[in-house]
């Protein structure tokens, strides 16, 4: 099967198999210099005011564009995992990602204003800081910071590998940009060079500019991405002769499942070998196609994207850093336009992709780079344009890593070093601790990636659903519920986290039988009653948060008054 499809590709000339020349490398190098320059600019902006608020929170000065374009979940996955899913399963993926239609409103409209206020009232710089001061409980702060360290470490280590691999494959002559988690491809010197260049760049600009450097590079990359996607959208539609043609051709290249729910599953590309590892098939499902999105998962993902975005610690921090309520309001509609211009076009591009490139066995993650090359190959300067489109995943990975570096380092310095180890630390000591912790986290990530992790995308999904199930309801309680107690919040955090974790452990260690639904991966959860673990995590988190709070002693009225009541101090407007 494999051999046949390669011949097909070579024969019909539609799939460029050649390499991309110097375009991608030039684009990446430009990108690296731009990021370092942004880091230096951020460094200057951070000099004002106190080191901690400046370095870790940009002096609470984020404007609407910065908040809108950087606060929501957008990582390497946007350009690798997601397009691959559209290419593989078809139009159903539009429903899978459909929750994004309300993400701008939910992301800023539910917690935004109140969180920004609360973080000012408490002087909080980090999310654990906020819990600690809002509830007057150092224990709660410590538990929150341990959970954040856990989830973000998983996330970071996965992203480092992605960054290194993009670098490696951008070398001319490396063949194709393969972002696939291809365990069979040998790692060579190019991977290590890629890892080194990637790590040094990210750490350098993050060390220079801290939070602002992370935000600004993120913004720069988001804008670049938007234009890249627009160019690619028109180029793809032009090449295929309109969306109607694309859908029809994609349909003939696949089967009816491609245009209907629960999604297309090509048995030939199917699940026998995943990431180099055979997946045992159950006797009863040999002939049954995989249901990519049964009703239960459609409901699950409409919740995952929305509430995962609201509850992610990196997103919460950005809201805390926003300058004022005008910024939050404007971010809502800026982001809604932006999302509309990214996700629907990406879906259209990948459907065109399936029409133009009938098969990509085992390399569906390459669909966006391949479309970039294919549609621009006859243009003057096409290789450089393609290079910039290819730089988008690299930029997405880089900015994700730098924002996690900031959150991780702020966790270590603020929530552990300053709170527990050395409360009297001087600004110079804090600065040194911040740099040291960032370098430490970076070195650990490099060490882990010398023999890199598999299951990149699945790790990201796990960390983001896990952290949302841990923090979302506690954050809601902190913002809006006077009666919430410390034991209640602790119970809510821990039970949400444990639920998600145990459902994943059941799936990963194959204690439960393989369910033929959802995305195909070895790092799979057990979908209890066919629902995603996130829903079960939220259910236990909400229940235990409410029940335990009501069963325990109400919080001190003086503390609550400080957090909820009109402040006694004169307001300035």
């Amino acid at each position: 099967m494999f051999g046949i499809s390669i011949n097909l590709l070579a024969a019909n000339e539609t799939a460029p198999v050649g390499d991309i020349g110097y375009g991608a490398l030039i684009a990446l190098v430009l990108f690296i210099f731009a990021s370092l320059w942004i880091g230096a600019l951020a460094n200057r902006a951070t000099q004002k005011g106190s080191f901690m608020t400046g370095f870790f929170l940009g002096n609470r000065g984020l404007g609407a564009w910065a908040l809108a374009l950087t606060a929501t979940v957008q990582s390497g996955g946007t350009f690798m995992g997601f397009p691959s899913l559209v290419y593989t399963h078809g139009w159903i993926v539009a429903l899978w990602i459909g929750g994004y239609m309300v993400v701008p409103i939910t992301g800023f409209g539910i917690l935004g204003k109140r969180l920004a206020q609360l973080s000012r009232r408490t002087g909080a710089i980090t999310v654990p800081d906020l819990f600690r001061s809002r509830f007057g409980s150092p224990t709660l702060g410590l538990v929150a910071s341990l959970f954040i360290l856990l989830y973000l470490s998983f996330m970071m280590f996965a992203q480092f590998k992605a960054g290194a691999i993009v670098m490696k494959l951008a070398w001319p002559g490396s063949g194709f940009l393969a972002l696939a988690e291809d365990a069979s491809s040998p790692l060579d010197t190019k991977y290590y060079i890629g890892l080194a260049v990637f790590s040094v760049t990210v750490m350098a600009y993050t060390l220079m500019g801290g939070f602002l450097a992370a935000v600004w590079t993120d913004m720069f990359q988001s804008v670049l991405m938007f234009f890249g996607v627009m160019v690619l959208l028109f180029a793809s539609l032009y090449q295929v002769g309109g969306l109607e043609n694309a859908t029809q051709k994609a349909l003939t290249n696949t089967g009816p499942g491609y245009v209907f729910g629960p999604g297309y599953d090509d048995p030939a590309m199917g699940p026998k070998i995943v990431e180099g590892k055979p997946i045992p098939r159950m006797a009863y499902d040999v002939d049954r196609p995989r249901d990519f999105l049964p009703l239960s998962l459609a409901i699950s993902f409409f919740c995952v994207w929305v509430w995962g975005g609201v509850g992610s610690p990196a997103g919460l921090v950005r809201v805390m850093a926003s300058k004022n309520t005008q910024v939050i309001r404007r971010s809502i509609y800026l982001l809604s336009v932006y999302n509309l211009g990214i996700y629907l076009p990406l879906i259209v591009i990948c459907i065109c992709g399936r029409a133009l490139i009938p098969e990509l066995p085992g390399k569906t993650d390459e669909i966006i780079p391949r479309m970039a090359l294919l549609t621009t190959k006859d243009w003057p300067g096409g290789s450089l344009i393609a290079g910039f489109i290819l730089a988008a995943p690299f930029g997405a990975v880089m900015s994700t890593v730098s924002s996690y570096l900031v959150v991780l380092s702020s966790g270590l310095v603020r929530d552990i070093y300053q709170r527990f180890l050395r409360p009297q630390a001087t600004p110079t000591e804090l600065r040194r601790a911040a740099y040291a912790s960032m370098i430490f986290v970076g070195l650990v990530a490099i060490a882990v990636n010398i023999s890199p992790v598999s299951y990149l995308q699945a790790l990201i999904v796990f960390s983001s659903t896990g952290s949302a199930a841990t923090f979302l309801f506690p954050a809601l309680m902190a913002c809006y519920w006077r009666r919430a107690t410390v034991p209640g919040v602790l119970a809510s955090m821990i039970s949400g986290a444990l639920t998600v974790l145990s459902l994943y452990l059941l799936g990963i260690f194959e204690i439960t039988p393989e369910q033929r639904i959802g995305q195909l991966t070895g790092f799979r959860p057990y979908y209890l009653l066919n629902f995603d673990p996130f829903l079960w995590g939220m259910l236990t988190s909400i229940t235990s948060g409410l029940v335990v709070s009501l069963l325990t002693k109400p919080p001190a009225e003086s503390l609550i008054a400080k957090m909820f009541d009109a402040s006694a101090e004169p307001t300035t407007n």
Binding site: G98, T247, V259, C479
Partner: protein, 99 residues
């Protein structure tokens, strides 16, 4: 709820409830429409609207565009601006937690 509750808390809570309502409306509409029109139909019944399969157009694309319009209305008109309060100076630890 005490009468002294800060106005930011009150408006934020009201806005949050409205947003949850919008989310509920979106999930119910999108999923029921897609499920009714788009699951397990024979390929011969495929109808396209602007090149999108009809169920994707009515179930995802249309509400997405509408969602952007609602986001604008919500952000530009409904959300109240408010003063968020002054930054606590970092060295003061009002709660006396020894931080």
């Amino acid at each position: 709820m005490s009468d002294n509750t800060d106005s930011v808390v009150r408006t934020a809570r009201r806005e949050a409830l409205l947003v949850v309502g919008i989310w509920l409306a979106a999930i119910v509409y999108a999923i029921s429409t897609c499920y009714r029109l788009g699951y397990s139909r024979p390929a011969a019944e495929l109808k396209l609207v602007f090149g999108f399969p009809d169920w994707i157009f009515w179930g995802v694309v249309m509400p997405w565009v509408l969602g952007a319009a609602i986001s604008w209305l919500f952000g530009a008109v409904f959300v109240r601006d408010a003063h968020l309060g002054e930054e606590l100076s970092e060295e003061t630890d009002e709660l006396g937690l020894g931080g």
